[in-house]
Subunit: 406 residues, 2 copies
């Protein structure tokens, strides 16, 4: 007998694809109308018009059924919040100014260093619950608010504790190169060496799948990033980069050269950078919540990025400074309005392509027989309504790994 | 014994004021820290540090307690949705173009005319539930998708049915002058006469508190609005206007002259218009969800409007064409980012001033002893976090008229 049978969905939006979707293919969704979906032992076992028996039958009449969202770029583990900095921003202060004044990332570093492991974990669990409630079934989590061995370890250990959470699969990324901590501000080279020491140790303990570097003025140069990422690759880490969030200082070219899995932000990117990413089939992770929250109005040139042949993904970049939202629905709403994506493009970017941005495209990110049953049911009759109604949670049901979690 | 005692809120944000808040006063919030609030027989009976017994005690430790949101401008009763029109807009089509092609408002008119009263009511009730879930405890609802006697009556009758809903107080507004229907397109004068006939009849049946006119190119001229609104006043209606949504064609000056309760939109407004509104103490209802959804980037000049001394309110303008959100939290998030309001200004605008925009400032809109117990409890420790976390529902509890409805 089946475990779960979802009956009569007005749309089963499969998002299926043999690889990351690019170009016109990104705008194509494989939609089954009026279809059913069967789940057994945590997997999707059939899609179509089914008449089998099931322990649980979910009526999806007038509802759209989608793969769970894959949020492939978050900084979910941290302590504190930065609403006062946000208030300053609404009065005109900018992100790099706040960073230079010892605010920004470093203020969250201070709060996170002070937090005990149970405090960090409790805050993270509340956020996991919220993200799940909004339809995310897998999310990546970066360290980078510890910036020393002990505190980076504390963050990655918190992510490991989340592995047993039944609502969410968490993917750990080491981001020791998020900012140079105060104690190393006059000796950046020594901090880069410390980051190399950390990545080696965390890999040995299997605490990080990816190593990421924030390549930006005020953070790390492309040259420093190269040292870190080459060291990370040497000990078996896959790599990611933050590049082009506020300026273009060579992160994209470096990431292409080193074979990054994804390069994230791309609000600023050169034609040559686009050409290289397309050639190397590197996923471009776009994060429209950041220019929205920071009020820069400068969104990644998504249409040109798509036209260049780069497979794009969407993510929240959830963090207390530049994007305090966990809702992938909000990110999709922003991407359609301010990056001019179609609903189909945004959905593929938030599911199957995001799964490939975490090297999991063969297991999650689409409704496909044999894949893990990570599924959301939305209270709308078609996927085009997903970006249309905004600021509200349209997700009615969440199934993670074949279990109903909402 | 008390009915409900809310204990130990980290902030009781009272928003109390003897009249609509203007200028610097708009940025002042009366906040009680670590306080309690007592409810009996649907009313707030005490605020402070209380030790009375209650049938129900709610622990609000680390939570902010606010007056329920008053959404003073919605078009909540309609049939259908317009996601395909939205998709066109993301590809560059504009609102007035779509209107001229018989799309826009008139497409919703067709769907609403076809709908049966139970269908209309069922859709409205689902929306009321959503709005309530996001913290709205009172909302205004405009007719205007019927555009003939029978169908405007059907809409206003649906609003009357909502009066018994325990989650929400609904305030009915007649907006026969929303668009000229197809059957009158070559005889606008006759339609204006028809609107006058309708307002008289609906007033006689006490189906409308307010009469509103959409003053805009492609909708109604200031001259036509004058005819309608004078007729409405003559039969005892209070009046509102949509003015300056896409252009400034004299609606503000007319509204000031006729003593409107509120003039709504104001994305385009002259210096003289501002002076007149301030002088007459007319509430300016700002609707930032519209330029957000329509991607015009042209928000009302809120800072200048506040500096001019106009009391502002915030509302969703919930409707299927120009603002498909019911979340006042989203509207506040937009107002702080794109109109540069402070959190305090946005909160006063969404509560006490919005209550005055519905002539209910003496009964709702603030936490004040003697007032109706319309209260929301948010899962944040201070009100400054309300615009900061965005795209997520922070409302944990809703109390309407002294009853827990969430």
């Amino acid at each position: 007998m089946l475990d779960i049978l979802i009956k009569n969905a007005s749309e089963l939006v499969t998002c299926k694809s043999a690889g990351p979707k690019t170009g016109r293919d990104l705008d194509a969704l494989d939609v089954v109308k009026g279809g059913d979906l069967a789940i057994k032992d945590g997997r999707i076992v059939a899609i179509g018009h089914l008449n089998e028996d099931a322990k649980k039958i979910i009526d999806a009449t007038e509802k759209a059924v989608l793969p769970g969202f894959v949020d492939c770029h978050t900084h979910l583990v941290f302590s504190g919040s930065r609403e006062d900095e946000f208030a300053l921003k609404t009065q005109g202060a900018n992100y790099l100014e706040i960073l230079k004044q010892g605010g920004g990332i470093l203020s969250t570093v201070n709060r996170t260093r002070e937090a005990t492991p149970p405090q960090l974990l409790a805050a993270a669990l509340a956020r996991i619950r919220m993200a799940s409630d909004y339809g995310t079934t897998t999310l990546e989590i970066k360290s980078g608010y510890g910036l020393d061995f002990q505190n980076e370890l504390k963050m990655l250990a918190a992510v490991r504790c989340l592995h047993t959470n039944r609502r969410m699969e968490s993917v750990p990324t080491f981001l020791g190169a998020h900012a140079v901590p105060q104690e190393f501000k006059d000796n950046r080279e020594a901090y880069v060496r410390e980051v190399l020491r950390m990545v080696e140790e965390f890999r040995r303990q299997s605490l990080a799948e990816y190593c990421d570097v924030f390549v930006e003025e005020g953070a790390f140069s492309a040259k420093e990033a190269e040292t870190v990422l080459k060291g990370a690759k040497a000990c078996g880490c896959r790599i990611k980069l933050h590049a082009g969030e506020f300026s273009d200082i060579g992160g994209v070219e470096l990431g292409a050269d080193l074979g990054a899995t994804s390069i994230d932000h791309l609000d600023y990117i050169s034609e040559e950078g686009m050409r290289l990413m397309a050639e190397k089939k590197i996923i471009g992770v776009l994060l429209p919540g950041v220019p929205f929250h920071l009020m820069t109005g400068h969104y990644a040139p998504a249409r040109r990025i798509i036209d260049a042949g780069i497979p794009i993904a969407l993510a929240t970049d959830f963090n207390p400074g530049s994007c305090p939202t966990l809702s992938m629905q909000m990110i999709i709403a922003l991407a359609c309005r301010y990056m001019r994506l179609t609903a189909a493009e945004a959905l593929n970017a938030a599911t199957i392509n995001a799964a490939y941005a975490l090297d999991r495209g063969d297991r999650i990110g689409s409704l496909d027989v044999g894949k893990q049953a990570d599924i959301i049911i939305l209270n709308i009759p078609n996927h085009r309504q997903l970006p249309y109604w905004f600021g509200m949670n349209l997700v009615e049901r969440v199934i993670k790994n074949g279990r109903i979690v909402k």
